[in-house]
Each structure stands twice: as structure tokens, then as C-alpha cells.
């Protein structure tokens, strides 16, 4: 199992001198379902790229499973932290779905039946069973995103990071992503997702981290983060709480970030 930690993390991009992370302290316990929200430019992508070594800290430290990430190469970290990028077309290169999904686990040294079952499970989780020999570019944009997710799931990393998995997805796609998150979490693995969909976030994750200008400005359960006390902080980063939270507050029901919690409060 891998615990993730960022301690005093600062990152300044060399070209342009942008201080994308301005002192981030974060600890994620194994098996947590965490959502990372904030407007573009708040540092979310910069932060997650430190978790698998694609970016190295300017100051501060990142540890994965009590090991300093700085002492591990990206290839080594890839066996612990799997990162799915936002744009599947910046990743897909194989001629078939199967070959694409096999790429990750092969790099990690898997072969034979272990490889086969990892691939099969990943395809099942993303609804791509039956498309093994299909050319990825014959799948629609939405399913290609799921393919990108499958290719990281097959690596069976203890931590899975998803960068905007629901962007551009239709209703079924979003449901599929939700199922993936819950499936991974059910196996005791950690899931971290960046998302702009507040309702998806409130309903799928147990912990929400809010970022603004390179810092964490909110960290807690959906009840805490979408509760009325936090709205000012939320709005300062141009985010709005979900409808259920707004109505719950209006009716004096306390913090009800999801439809279910609002309804339960009304029934009580």
C-alpha cells in the first residue's frame, strides 16, 4: 500500500518563472478516494505530476510509501502511481486496444497470464470487452478516454490518478468513470481525481481538496467543503457548490452536498 505525502511542496516552472505550487502540504492515506478541484492554473495538474516524478520539487519533498520520490526514477514510480492524462490522443499509439492496454503492464515487467488477466480486468472495468482488436481511432472520443483509463488500470498500481476523467463524457461515460473509481477503491487502492464536475465530485469522493493559486484552501469531506461556511472560499476560486448543497442550506437542512443527503434530510 502506498501513502502519499507532499511536504512544503513548492514548484516554480523554469521557463516563465511561474510559481505553480506555493507550499503544499498534503497526506493521502492508502485507499482514500480524493478529488482535487480548483480552476485552471490553480496547480492541480502540477501537483499530481509530482506524485509520479514527472515534475520534481523546487522546494519541499514528495514521498510515496515513505520513500522520497526524488530517489526514484519516473519508470520506478510508475509502478506505484499510475497517472491517466486528460487527452487520450496524447498517449494512444498502438494499433489495437489490446496492444495499447498491454503497454503499461509490459513496461512494468508483467507477462503471460498475469498480463492477460490484468488486461482483461481493465477492459471489463471500462466497458471495452469485445474491442480488443479494434483500432483505438475507430472508437469514439469518449471511449478512447476510457481506453486511456484502462491502460493505466492494467498496471495495477496501488495509486491511480485521473486527470479530468469526466470531461467530454456523456452520461454513460460518467457513470462508467464513477464505477471505475468505486471499483479501484473497493480493492483498497487509492484514487485521486481532478475534476470540474462538482456533482460528480460530491457523489463519488470521500475527501475533497480545493486549490487556488498554488495552495490548498480547503480540505475535507463533501459536507465540509460544500457546506455553507465554505462557500465564500469556494466562490473565491470561481467554483459553485452543487444544487443539493444550495437547496439544503436554503431549507435549513445543514450541509447536504448530494441529492441523497438532501432527500434524507427532508425525510427526517
Amino acid at each position: 500500500m502506498a501513502e502519499l505525502r507532499a511536504e512544503g511542496l513548492v514548484h516554480v516552472y523554469r521557463d516563465g518563472g511561474v510559481r505553480a505550487l506555493d507550499g503544499v502540504d498534503l497526506a493521502i492515506a492508502p485507499g482514500q478516494r480524493v478529488a482535487l478541484i480548483g480552476q485552471n492554473g490553480s496547480g492541480k495538474t502540477t501537483l499530481v505530476r509530482h506524485l509520479n516524478g514527472l515534475l520534481r520539487p523546487t522546494e519541499g519533498r514528495v514521498t510515496v510509501d515513505a520513500t522520497d520520490a526524488a530517489s526514484l526514477t519516473v519508470a520506478q514510480l510508475a509502478s506505484r502511481v499510475g497517472l491517466v492524462f486528460q487527452d487520450p490522443d496524447r498517449q494512444i499509439f498502438a494499433g489495437s486496444v489490446r496492444a495499447e492496454v498491454e503497454f503499461g503492464p509490459r513496461n512494468l515487467g508483467r507477462s503471460g497470464s498475469a498480463l492477460g488477466s490484468a488486461v482483461a480486468d481493465a477492459l471489463a472495468a471500462t466497458g471495452l470487452v469485445g474491442e480488443e482488436e479494434t483500432n483505438p481511432y475507430d472508437l469514439g472520443q469518449s471511449r478512447r478516454k476510457l481506453l486511456a483509463i484502462a491502460s493505466v488500470l492494467a498496471m495495477r498500481t496501488p495509486v491511480v490518478v485521473l486527470d479530468e476523467p469526466t470531461t467530454g463524457q456523456d452520461a454513460r461515460g460518467v457513470e462508467r468513470v464513477r464505477a471505475v473509481v468505486e471499483g479501484v477503491a473497493a480493492e483498497g487502492r487509492t484514487v485521486l481525481a481532478i475534476s470540474h464536475d462538482m456533482r460528480f465530485v460530491a457523489e463519488t469522493f470521500e475527501r475533497i481538496v480545493v486549490m487556488r493559486a498554488g495552495r490548498i484552501v480547503g480540505d475535507g469531506t463533501p459536507e465540509t467543503v460544500f457546506g455553507a461556511d465554505a462557500w465564500e472560499a469556494l466562490r473565491s476560486t470561481y467554483l459553485e457548490p452543487p444544487l443539493a448543497a444550495v437547496l439544503g442550506d436554503r431549507f435549513g437542512m445543514g450541509s447536504t452536498p448530494t441529492d441523497t443527503s438532501l432527500i434524507e434530510a427532508l425525510l427526517a
Binding site: 485552471n40 467530454g168 467554483l239 437547496l247 436554503r250 441529492d259 438532501l262 432527500i263
Partner: protein
Amino acid sequence: MTISLAGVGYRYAGATAPALLDVDLELRDGEVLGLVGASEAGKTTLCLVVSGLAPRTVGGQIRGAIRLDGEDVDAWPMHRISERVGIGFQNPATQLSQVTGSVFEEVAFGPMNLALPRDEVAERTWSALESLRIDTLAERDPVRLSGGQQQLVALAGLLAMRPEHLVLDEPTAQLDPAGTRLVADAIERLAADGASILVAEQKTDLLAAICSRVVVLDGGRVAQLGPAAEVLGDRRLRDLGVAEPSAVRLQRAAEAAGVHDARLSEALAGG
């Protein structure tokens, strides 16, 4: 001024099955028509067909008739249609020409291509920038703007052509909530000014707020077409691969749980 599609079908070059079949549709002056459907249902294809890019630039075969104010546009070249129908896409960056050093020149690109007199080019550019409230960005380098700002620049570039109709294919898909709001507000203002807009989106909350009618595509065919509240409130929406607006979803969940709360009904009906 109306765009009408009658029995329109379209097949991409080299495809076995048609992407659109038997589409009858009218985009009327001064209305915002929402377009929803599952991924691959044909939303983008419909946008390309209405704007004339399909088949002219994209290739493929088209059937049926598309008319602009009663005139069949089948023989019109692309540049002639582009003066009447503008189209915007979801990726902000690929819509920039990348050869202009300022937002002003970027927005002026279209009118310049129309060989209009220079002061008219300038006037149209300023109007477009002002109507989207980005005149303060006029001197900025388009490449350095945020995604939301780039989308507005792209939209301004279309408006400067003074098209009668606007087709927008998921304009907020790649934007964060702030960018989404910028673009949504802009579309609302344009609509209020009487523009005629076809906007495809997954975000039904957004469409519920700004559309008068909504069309649902399923497998390349029109599955539903009617007033926005009716179509977006229809129970079959989810089966067609479309997520209902938040208010509708909440309403249904409440009913299913046996909650009959006047405050809730009132709040959701108020929208």
C-alpha cells in the same frame, strides 16, 4: 432568416453506415436550439452539416436538402456559406489562426478574408469584442490567454463575420467552471440580442437555462424535438445517453423517495 434541413442524411467518406439519417430540423431566427445526445450520436456531424463544412471540407456524401431562407445551398462553396453560418468548436487552441500577434488581429481575420473596406473591418472587430466584453483583451497575444478567454476570442472571430446563424459544438467542454460561465453568459447575451444559435452540449443545466427548444439525437436520427423544459424533463433522456439537468434529477429522486416538500418543488420549478 431560417436554416432548414429536410430529410438530411450524411455519410463520412469511407464509412459503411451513415452518421445522420432523415433529419428534419429548423433553426429559426432569434432562437437558441440545444443539441444533446450520447457521444457518437451525431452531434458534431450535425454541426458540420449545418455549417456546410460537411461535405465541402470534410468530404463524404450528403442527402436531402439544406436551405437558407428557402434557398438550397447545395451548390454553394464554403466561403459563401461561412458568411451566413458561423461554427465554433470545443478546442479553444485549434480555433486560433496562430499567425496573429493580438486578439484584435485574430478577430479581424474573418472580415479581412471577406475583403471588406478597412474601416468596416475595424468597426466589426470592435463590435464583436465589445459584445463579448473582451475589448480589454484587444492587445493581448491570443496564445497566452486562458482556455475560456480563447473560446471567447474564437467566438468574437465568428461574430465579426456577422453570420445570421451560429453553430457551437460543445463550446464549454474543455473549460473550467469559470471559463464555462464566461462563455455561457456570452451565449445568453447573444441570444437575448436575437441571435440564432445551435449549441451542442453535454451540460444540460446550461442548456436548460438558455435554450428555447432542444433536439435529441440518437444514432444519427432525431429522437426528440420540442420545448426545452419538456425535452429535458422527459424520462427517456437517460436511456438516450443524456444526463438530465440537476433540478430534474433531484426532483425525480425526491419523488422516488416519497418526498413531497412544497419548498423543494417550488425551488426546482423556479429553476
